[in-house]
Subunit: 320 residues, 2 copies
């Protein structure tokens, strides 16, 4: 095979011909941000969006194992017999400043699909660049779509606002809990409830499943009438139990989205949200430039000397 | 007394002559935001900053009671005999959309200083306006300074990032913990350690004080050498025990700040941070305007049709 090109369009051509190394390089570009990432985005956003399944939940809920088991189901195609030739997993860790190296290695090595050419697993972490993962992940999903992948699973670590935001920017968002989760996750409950399209009680071989289900049902009873009521699926990912049911629940939600016209509505909302994020990131760059300048230093001195208020100072800086 | 004026300058004149109702109205202006808030800021930032003590810590740590006890100490003046004629308390609850009414009433009624004319207690909450409390609280502090108050205690509810940010934008930041706090607050520990100038173990009549102190000491041992090492004070606020020691610890830190020149450095950093926040808030307004416009809708449609990437779209909107 010829040596790997560096130009995004040449790389994308290779990625479309199933060259995983080319695809990995493109994803690195996206992750790194900057001009090359923009060139990749220019290509990626000209293709359709793959069907995206977000997976979020507390650390230790067994999301990685669940994702791994789910891959096999996805590879079997949609329950309505629509084939899925290839599946990608993005494992996102907003708290980690690194990617590629150790985490990716571990995550990929852990996977039973490590050597399966129809499965593409990749860890993503922020490299501290502008906008970080909330910009990079949507770009990565679009890139995977442009490379020909039709289903992408986005798995996030943790339940911070950013993790939940990332995982819920999916077509179907799966929230993973475990028996006894209610006590430890009190603070995140409402947020998770709001984004869930499917609930999974994983580690269902442990005591407390019935209580966890009752807890979820009660929460769902409080949701607004007419809204989609998430299925609650019990799985034991380590034993691959219930994972087929989870895939069917995802497919059911997809069917609901397509039939109700919600899929298009959601996707439009999502691009609007993405555009807003890019706009905010742009204006933050502007503020960073302003605060690095000499006029900022002068304004701060005047503020410290009680000669100015911060609103006047901001007006001056933005006008100047 | 003549009826209350509505103009900020007339109100400030009255507030300077100890008219608490005038001061309360000015604070409402600040809280509400907008043009009148700006007019108040214009006046407030021409005066010096009062000495500000921030109080933060887990809900249920007894911060309100501790603040109330501390007021009596503050009223006795600084330990070096410098008098404190008046003291203000801002009780800040970023999670509450309301203020003034119930919360203020409760907080003030609860206080043993409710009828003391030298003590001014006020609850602040966001009314959802731009920048919210992270802009309004510094403005309120400056306003209290302009009205002649020399010491302001800012007490926050909760230990979210915003609460910690607000409380730590003080000259001396007091972090309140209780015996056994370590287990429940694992996630917030590092953040609290970073901002603390003084630690209080409140409810020191309960078991676990020794463990809590050892826990704090161990954390402090890991701090960078040469940095200020926070005192650890044990209090039982309900019995007013240890509160005099807390006030001495605050005074000791103040002395350190003044002598080392750090007070001026910190305050300059603070105004720089405030100015940055105003700049960010301004640019967010710009983004909100952009996303409300017709061009945004057109861009979103093009994005949804895979004809554009969000970076190009943002460029177009920002240039237009």
């Amino acid at each position: 095979m010829s040596p790997l090109p560096t130009e995004p369009d040449a790389l994308l051509k290779r990625a479309r011909a199933d060259d995983r190394v080319a695809l990995a390089r493109l994803l690195s570009y996206v992750e790194r941000g900057g001009a090359t990432a923009r060139a990749v985005a220019h290509l990626a956003y000209r293709s359709g969006v793959p069907y995206t399944v977000g997976l979020t939940g507390a650390p230790g809920a067994g999301k990685s194992t669940l994702t791994d088991s789910l891959i096999s189901e996805v590879r079997g195609g949609w329950p309505d017999a629509e084939a899925v030739a290839q599946v990608a997993v993005l494992a996102v860790d907003p708290t980690s400043p690194f990617s590629g190296g150790a985490i990716l290695g571990d995550r990929v090595r852990m996977s039973q699909h490590a050597l399966d050419p129809t499965v593409f697993i990749r860890s993503m972490a922020t490299r501290g660049h502008l906008g970080g993962l909330s910009l990079a992940v949507p770009d990565a999903i679009r890139l995977l779509g442009a490379a020909g992948l039709r289903v992408v699973i986005v798995e996030t670590v943790g339940v911070g606002q950013m993790e939940v935001d990332i995982a819920s920017a999916a077509d179907t968002t799966v929230v993973v809990v475990t028996p006894g989760w209610g006590d430890s996750m009190q603070a995140s409950k409402a947020g998770l409830l709001e984004v869930a399209d499917v609930f999974v009680i994983n580690k269902a071989d442990r005591p407390g499943v019935r209580e966890a289900r009752r807890d979820l049902e009660q929460m769902l009873d409080l949701a607004r009438p007419g809204a989609w009521r998430p299925d609650i699926v019990e799985t034991t990912a380590t034993a691959r139990e219930g994972v087929d049911e989870l895939w069917r629940a995802v497919a059911l939600h997809r069917e609901h989205l397509v039939r109700s016209g919600q899929l298009a509505v959601r996707r439009t909302e999502r691009v609007a949200q993405e555009l807003r994020r890019v706009l905010l990131a742009r204006t933050e760059v502007k503020v960073d430039e302003l605060t690095a300048g000499e006029e900022f230093t002068t304004a701060v001195k005047a503020l410290a000397a009680d000669e100015l208020d911060p609103y006047e100072a901001a007006d001056g800086l933005l006008a100047g």
